[in-house]
């Protein structure tokens, strides 16, 4: 599968402001949570669960595997490997390893 590199996405797919998403998401998330908690919830949620979700989402965006310069195209990887005379390491999964689950 050849995925459009994010940097090559059409500009209309990328919002003009970049760094604010997470800091702004979670106040919204918390506000939404408080709003939701004002009504009976279909499943009991322990106090602090939404904050834990916020923290987990933040942490997951900084996991070590993200520091690897993964290619998403084998052909691109082959070209780079041939130029740099290095072997290719292929992480081949059911569902895309960088997302989907």
């Amino acid at each position: 599968m050849q995925v459009i590199p994010v940097e090559n996405m059409t500009t209309s797919l990328i919002p003009p402001i970049t760094p604010w998403i997470l800091p702004r998401l979670f106040p919204c998330l918390l506000a939404a949570g408080l709003c939701l908690m004002a009504r009976p919830l279909p499943a009991e949620v322990k106090e602090g669960a939404l904050q834990a979700f916020e923290q987990a989402c933040r942490t997951s965006m900084n996991e070590p595997w993200r520091s690897v310069p993964w290619k998403v195209s084998l052909i691109e990887a082959q070209n780079l490997a041939a130029r740099e005379r290095k072997p290719i390491f292929i992480w081949a999964m059911d569902g895309h390893p960088l997302g989907c689950t």
Binding site: Q78, K86, W91
Partner: protein, 297 residues
């Protein structure tokens, strides 16, 4: 999921990977089927390994030379085993001049692109509670997992959001393909008939809604409320921050190990900005059938 938290959390392995290899991550369900240079190269490599039946999964960790010669394979997630496979592969590898492969015309069936003029939204989910405590490391990884997927929004749906409407196609896509528990693996998506109730409203930039999803047998269900905020600037959505929260029940063939009974599941949606490597990955729900995922009616 397991790989991210186990194999690829080992600092020594990561250092080796970054300096001595060209790392690539793929959904092999595409490459083993696609009829183009990318697929040919993958089948050349995987065909030399133990998983060479391309009608079945070939998932695993491979090392190959740029000439396509297989140098190592493992489907074990232990970082020690993987490091050992990498070490042996490096020993076998003999660098030489190799021609650069040309991509040619990609097989369009396996190269879905985000809709032009649309939006990409990050989706993350987490089971908030309900698991039994465990000392098992692998179960702990699943139990604390935050999933990651992308929601694709079409140009028409973005235009409707700008007008203050959420088109039914977008509501159904969110419900069917993104209100899922994908925290332990590839989840079953909801069929259209399994949407029992679905309402989303957008007023003054505030999105609210409810969804009830349930299989006929009732073995899997999610009853959720959605709440969030949207902002629009110059005819484009510049903020899309929504959270769904509710009671989930059940599991799928590849998501075993769910908590017993009902458990709280939260799903967050936030506009992708291209800074995350996963922002460019097609939605799991589009896999193999992007037309159904992006259906307009």
């Amino acid at each position: 999921m397991l790989d991210r938290a186990s194999t690829f959390s080992d600092p020594d392995l990561l250092a080796e990977l970054k300096t001595r290899f060209i790392p690539v991550a793929i959904d092999q369900a595409y490459q083993r089927r696609q009829q183009d240079a990318e697929g040919d190269f993958y089948r050349q490599i995987a065909g030399q390994g133990p998983r060479h039946d391309f009608n079945n999964t070939t998932q695993g960790l491979y090392v190959a030379g740029p000439d396509g010669a297989l140098l190592g394979f493992t489907n074990n997630r232990g970082s020690g085993r993987v490091r050992e496979m990498m070490r042996r592969a490096i020993e076998k590898y003999q660098p030489g001049d190799v021609a650069l492969l040309e991509a040619g015309r990609p097989d369009p069936r396996f190269n879905p692109h985000p809709p032009e003029g649309g939006l990409v939204v990050r989706v993350q989910a987490k089971v908030l509670d309900g698991y039994e405590e465990t000392d098992d490391r692998w179960r702990q990884i699943f139990q604390s997992a935050v999933s990651r997927d992308n929601l694709w929004i079409t140009r028409e749906e973005q235009a409707a959001l700008v007008r203050g409407e959420i088109l039914p196609t977008l509501q159904q896509r969110i419900a069917r393909f993104h209100l899922v528990d994908n925290t332990r693996g590839e989840p079953p998506m909801w069929r259209k008939a399994e949407i029992r109730e679905l309402e989303m409203h957008l007023q003054d930039g505030v999105l609210s809604g409810e969804a009830e999803l349930r299989t006929d047998s009732g073995d899997r269900a999610y009853q959720a409320r959605l709440q969030g905020n949207l902002e629009v600037r110059e005819g484009k959505v510049t903020r899309f921050e929504v959270v769904a929260q509710g009671a989930f029940r059940g599991e799928g063939r590849f998501t075993r190990g769910a908590p017993e009974g009902e458990f709280p599941l939260a799903v967050s949606f936030s506009l992708a900005d291209g800074t995350d490597i996963a922002d460019g990955i097609p939605p799991q729900g589009s896999r193999g059938w992007v037309e159904e995922y992006l259906k307009t009616e």
